[in-house]
Amino acid sequence: MSERIDPRLMREGRRARGALYGSIALGLVSAWAVIGQAVILARLVEAISFRHILLPPLMPLIAGLAALFLLRAGLSHAAEALASRACLAIKSGLRAALLARLFARGPAAEAASAETAATLLDGVEALDPYFSRYLPQMALCVAVPLAILAVVLPLDWISFTVLLLAGPLIPFFMVLVGYRAEAANQRQWDKLLRLGAHFLDVLQGLTTLKLFGRARDEIRIIARISDEYRRTTMEGLRIAFLTSAVLEFFASLAIALVAVLFGARLIHGHFGFYPAFLVLLLAPEYFVPLRGLAVHYHARMSTIAAARQIFAVLDAPAPPRGTAELAAAAGIEIVCAQLSFAYEGRKVLEDVSAKFPAGKLTVIVGASGAGKTTLARLLLGFLRPTAGHILVNGQDLAEIAPESWWRALAWVPQTPRLFPGSVEENIALGLPQVDFARLRAAATRAQAYNFIEALPGRFATPVGEGGGNFSGGEIQRLALARAYARHARVLIMDEATASLDPQTEAAVLDALTALNEGCTTIIIAHRLAVAERADQILVLEAGRLMQSGTHAELLAVAGPYRELARAGEAANV
């Protein structure tokens, strides 16, 4: 796997160029301030210790030193504030682009939403340290040591040589040899600590363990597994930590060497105290940016990983989109003509031809995996058929702009979502200026009105995160109300009554069939209660359309529908 920063990310980085150069420039000025400070400090110490000058005459130097301190404080404040701003524009831009891309792709690819949300938030956030810390630090890593070397060279060529040799060796050993290993190890260590996968597994299964009387045994196992993790990980860390020893080795050794070599020359009076002391003051500063580099190096690693995730989303192809408007008509008739769909080479639907008559109720039944949900997603326009066509009043769905098709549609998915906002806002999703009477009528028809009125804030009750304050059946009915409120010409419901108790289910179905209003309705059924009311039933098996007809017609002939119905009867108490 390539461990380079994606060049497109560097292009994104141009948006932050101003702030970035600004913070680098501030860092450089501050580096020269450090050198100035060392010069004054060395002069002061020399004056005090060697020329026995009293403090009052040194006041101008002391004042100069204090002024430099203030300057450095101001510079470091400005650099930090600027660096934290560097990335804001990049982050906002990337987040908007990612979200737009995800919407353009549609729900075809069912990615894990928590992970994708993490890419949008944490992934984009992980770019921050790269632009705001790592890049400026890289610049300082070159500029500060060079500036210090430039000051040291005229003072003492021996110390210059020591520093010159030690400096490049550190990044050589750390970055090229060891740091990659250390960062990888560190990541593994973090993961082991953070995930605690086994521990979570045990906590999740605690009730099961108790029921088998095994909960106490698990204590030993937790201790043992933790111990194994510790041993294998420490083996890796023992080598990885050598890299931090390398930095200490060169930095400490260089300082010790500078000091000892100076001592040998000073004692023979061959050298002045001032230049020697100045070099000793500068030597630790020479290694400061390198230490910073080590700290920020793993920012680069996580940026590479984050960039990979981000561009994986941005690079995923969006399906082709139609551009035509859906022709206006009173009713909508949908025809599937030799419709096939394959996913990763596996045929999910094969050669399905069926008609969904305008204003009628069609129910699709079949075992799970028969292709019911795929058929619904094709009708919704989320998927494109691999062969065959879907004709909407004779128009090919592939040529109709999705937005135009969706305006005619209402949809109740298998697990409907409630969005942050009030109950009313959720029913009025996509209908910003709808009047309340229409929402109330929709709620009533969806058997939701009574429980909404019983809520503390009625229609204004806020919806908790993920609809946490509503039961599955309630969410289902709110979604149904949302669909009814649209007065759509086509309604597609996916196993919409799965989590309702039998009484509510019957009431929901009564309302659905009683007030059809010319809406072409397609229901993917889990149980047969709804099929009995259908104008037409389609029976799918292993991706093929096996039977179609009314409940009575299908019961009269031997076939998969009659088997399904018999199994249902046998199970009914």
Binding site: L41, I48, S49, F50, L55, I62, R72, G74, S76, A78, E80, S84, K91, R95, A96, L102, G106, S113, A117, L120, L121, L193, R194, L195, G196, L206, L211, R214, I222, S226, R230, M234, R238, F241, L242, S244, A245, E248, F249, S252, I255, A256, V260, G263, I267, H268, H270, F277, A367, S368, L380, P402, W406, P416, F419, P420, G430, R486, D501, A571
Partner: protein, 559 residues
Amino acid sequence: MSDIWRLVRLLAPRRGWMLAGLGLATLTVLANFGLLAISGWFLAATALAGLAGYAAQNAFNFFTPSAMVRFFATLRVGSRYAERLVTHEATFRLLADLRVWFYTRLEPLAPAALQAERAADLLGRIVSDIDTLNLFYLRVFVPVLTAFAAGLVMAAFFAFFSWPAALALILGLALNGMLTPLLTARLGARPGAEINRLTARLRAEYVEALQGLGELLVFGAAPQMQARAAALNDELAAAQARMGWVAGLGLALSGLAANVTLLAVLLCGARRFEEGGIGAANVPMLVLGAMAAFEATAPLPGALQYLGQIKAAARRIFALADTPPPVAPPALPAPEPRGYGLELNAVTLRYAPGAPPALNGLSLSVPEGRRLGIAGASGAGKSTLINLILRFHEFQEGTARFGGHDLRAYGSADIARHVTVISQRSHIFHTTIRDNLLLANARADEAALWHALEVAQLAGFVRSLPQGLDSLAGEGGARLSGGQARRVALARAVLKPAPWLILDEPTEGLDYETERAFLRDLLPVLAGRTVLYISHRPAGLALMDEVYTLRDGRATRRR
């Protein structure tokens, strides 16, 4: 702070490792301090000897200080390496201890304490809270105590030459390591909370948008959602910019504190030298020492941030660990049941005092060997009935007898010996299929395992796997389909021949066909056992001798 103190006492059994890491960290800081201070003195002393002429040069002991310079440099390298090894080793050991401690505390509470609305979130939070607590040693304990220990040693060294210099150093270290971070934390609290709040909202917004992508598109609500996310993101950016300003201020102030201390130490040293109290070489020594001293306090701003997170995590973890168990363990050993009949008479169970009763005067009789079905809408008390029988929750009124004894005489572990549960929530562990089965009966041999798989109609599937019984079941049973996971639970029931079998919505979430096949294979497992079958789906209830309907916490006979 008492939570932190409690955490320290909890970790105390590992004090050997903890103190070793602390000692090495202190040594690392002191080695650097020693290296620079001695180097400063050495330079000045050799220069003075060099100026004083031959006699002084020959009298000067060059060897000892130069050896000390080399010694401190070597010590620094070695102690840095050892410190990292030892602190990480200690962190791992502490983590194991913390997990075991917490598990031991949580075990009697399960599942009552974990049955919150969002159990998955709760468990995830527990695991990350424990990990956060574990950072206490590495990120708070070591840096804070190192700063104190090293700071005291360095100040004591300074005091040897100049009391005011020592005082200035202590003051400077406190300003740099404590006051400035505290000020920054205080100024940053508002933008920090704002960032947390906005991040959480933005995350919720993204998750909702992604999970409801199709609905937002179909309902034409995508542009509004994008606009809302963009507005939240702008707010977040503004809060982050404010935070950056505060962080910059903290950085500037702590740098200023260190520099001012340097100047103060220089002036104190100069004054003392003028008075003749110390030699000329001591002044550069103090200056370089003061420069190196601030390494001790450098990690403290980070430690303060961690401390905030750790306090919050400790509060949550200790609150959970201190929850009293919902069922007091029986004082006497549980009696041996005489038969396996269950008699409930006017039992009322409330989950909390004052809460509406979940079981309201429930009377139910399950004679030994009988198969009883319980139907009822969600919220009618079906799960509560199971919690009652399994002794997961205490009942308040009425009488309950199991095997001829008061139900209260049994703890949940005692009941578990007589009861097997098959539930949609039966957990499949992230380990091999074999281990998942052995859970039910540790002594089962290979033949018994395969027999159980045969009965559960899972043997063919397991045989088809390349590693057979030793195949991983996957995280949360993810490699098994819903029907297969239920069959693993069935196989466990075969392996554990307990006289009672409770089936808790065993076919929930399965489609029609799968349910039918599951029930067919369930029949032989029911033979000879007392069965309680709880479901709102009719198919399984048809296999029962009697069926009751639960409504509002009361049972009425249906068939």
